[in-house]
Amino acid sequence: MAAVVILQDKCVGCGLCAKACPFDAIDLDKGARKASINEKCTACGSCFESCKKFGAIVHGARRKAKADLSEYRGVWVYVEQRAGVVQPVAVELLGEGRRLADALGVELSGVLLGEGIEPLAREAIELGADRVFLCESPALAGYTTDGHTKALDALVRAHKPEILLFGATHIGRDLAPRLAARVDTGLTADCTKLEIDPADRKLLQTRPAFGGNVMATIVTPNNRPQMATVRPGVMKKAEAKPGRAGEIVRFDAAVGAGDLRTRVLEVVRSARPCCAIEEAEIIVSGGRGLGKPEGFELLQRLADKLGATVGSSRACVDAGWIGHERQVGQTGKTVKPRLYIACGISGAIQHLAGMSSSDLIVAINKNPDAPIFSVADYAIVGDLYEVVPALIQALDRKESLAELIASRAAA
């Protein structure tokens, strides 16, 4: 059975589906006025929407659930910690997990794996967890794929959550797929939006696909838990409520040194501390339009004025003008700052995928037709080498004005 089926009796051969297909996987027989799926189909689903009017495109046969899905209850969040510090993405996931748990009317649990991390369990509860499963063992002290997979597998089998969320970090994206394969369930990567289908309690997982050109909503209909990794910086952070009550459940997953087939010899932090661009409230970002690596010095001056972090498009990273850790976009970081100032960035779809959900976007570009303007709130068509220095001056004037007012008030 093919993944996507065109019902020949309903198809009128209008060709809308062939236009919607990103993979050139729909052939149109103009004589017979019928469309058909060819072998290039990846079951991406882009064609379904295009055939709303005729309803001729449907999913192929699906297999049925094997297990009793109602046994699985509750929303879990893998509370990623590194060296005893709860990672920012885990705080975002606790916020999002709380929202999903409330929508389902179930409890939110955090999962903490490590050694000597009990204080973090309290932290997770204050951030919204009703319960924290705490697995402590020397073999779980640092992250290893084998150790954390074994512990989570044991926990999932014992306590059966319906939803299990991970941050799409280098750890989450290593662990979640391995675990999903072990517990035989579906996993959706890099989600940017999660919702509960009120009709059947399914988790609707929306993610960018095809280089950010298409958004796809993905479900795991017949297996539990429904697993997803979530892009850092997308969900709203949970706010800590000091003294919030919750339960800490210690769990012995029996993970020993013998389970670990990899050995971490050393963890090296970059000499240059990561700018943590995902954390920045304001980002001043530069693109090919800078024309030269020195352009980033100018952007840094503007960033200093605003208390901002400097970001970059892929072009400048590939050109070696700035480090990869600054890259915003599909293959870089997803950011959601209060203010994003794009300087000399044309706005390739890959870049937009990483920054278009910023609260406020200012675009400065010479080309009035640059795609970046389609996501911008404020558009400045002009030479960034004139506009950015003017901005710095305008900010200086605003500062001195503020100082003047303050000094007058003091006097």
């Binding site: 391995r178 394969a181 579906g186 996993l187 890099d190 087939r261 990561c274 304001i282 709130d377």
Partner: protein
């Protein structure tokens, strides 16, 4: 030493544009390429072969018949053998079903010492097939590999983290996923291209060759389902500032301050 490299042919998503009027994908003229991360995986395998000419490199891909082009490119870069898993039954596979199919092929190939994959493919960007394949094969994995050294029959590899890296020791066989920091892929050589279209062939294996039942591959085995796809909604019109650079800067700072953004 036998090294398997898993690769994928993908549409070059960098070449995809959105039609500004219709808001649909413009897919005309989008070329199919060998997935970039996979090229780094193959290069890493080729470097093992550079050091040990007795090493044998098998490239493996699952895809439609035209994915053969990507495998020919791998042969031209220096791989010894190429296998394409192609069957209508494999279509519509999610990462679970894909890793299941690849695992069946790897078991049929047998006796591998090292399995490489790219971190992720640019059309799906999931980074799931590598770890899921390792799990199916029951071998350890290291993802985001940026450096590899062979020492006393074991590997010492660097795994990239967001804020640095970790140095990991792992035994063989294992699966490594490559990122672009790992190496600079070589170009196809003229002799390589000649061989790739001459004495070297691309074997095509279907469902029957793998000896797995149809419900273990493709859509039948997929645990996830695309419910809906849509193009992201465009934002409303931007406020277009006008005047001299100084006037526009002044207006912007005023607006941002007014909205309490700065």
């Amino acid at each position: 030493m036998k090294i398997i490299v898993c690769v994928k042919q993908v549409p070059d998503t960098n070449e995809v544009r959105i039609d500004p009027v219709k808001g649909t994908l413009v897919r005309e003229g989008v070329p199919s390429i060998l997935n970039p991360d996979d090229k780094h995986a193959l290069e890493a395998a080729l470097r093992f072969k550079d050091a040990d000419p007795a090493a044998r490199i098998v490239v493996l891909s699952m895809g439609p018949p035209q994915a053969e082009e990507a495998l020919r490119e791998c042969l031209a870069m220096g791989a010894d053998e190429a296998i394409l898993l192609s069957d209508r039954a494999f279509a519509g596979a999610d990462t679970w079903a894909t890793s299941n199919t690849l695992a069946a092929a790897l078991r049929k190939i047998g006796d591998y010492d090292l399995v490489f994959a790219g971190r992720q493919a640019i059309d799906g960007d999931t980074a799931q097939v590598g770890p899921q394949l390792a799990e199916r094969l029951g071998i350890p994995q290291v993802t985001y590999v940026q450096r590899i050294e062979r020492r006393d029959g074991k590997l010492t590899v660097e795994r990239q983290l967001e804020d640095g890296h970790e140095v990991i020791e792992v035994g063989l066989p294992c699966l490594l996923t490559a990122i672009k920091e790992l190496n600079e892929p070589r170009y196809m050589s003229v002799g390589g291209i000649y061989d790739a279209f001459g004495e070297k062939t691309v074997a095509v294996w279907g469902l029957k060759d793998l000896g797995v039942s149809p419900d273990q591959v493709g859509l039948e085995a997929s645990l996830t389902q695309v419910q809906r796809s849509f193009t992201p909604e465009p934002k409303g019109q931007a406020v277009r500032l006008s005047g001299t650079a100084a006037e526009m800067a002044e207006a912007l700072v005023g607006s941002l301050a007014h909205r309490h953004v700065i």
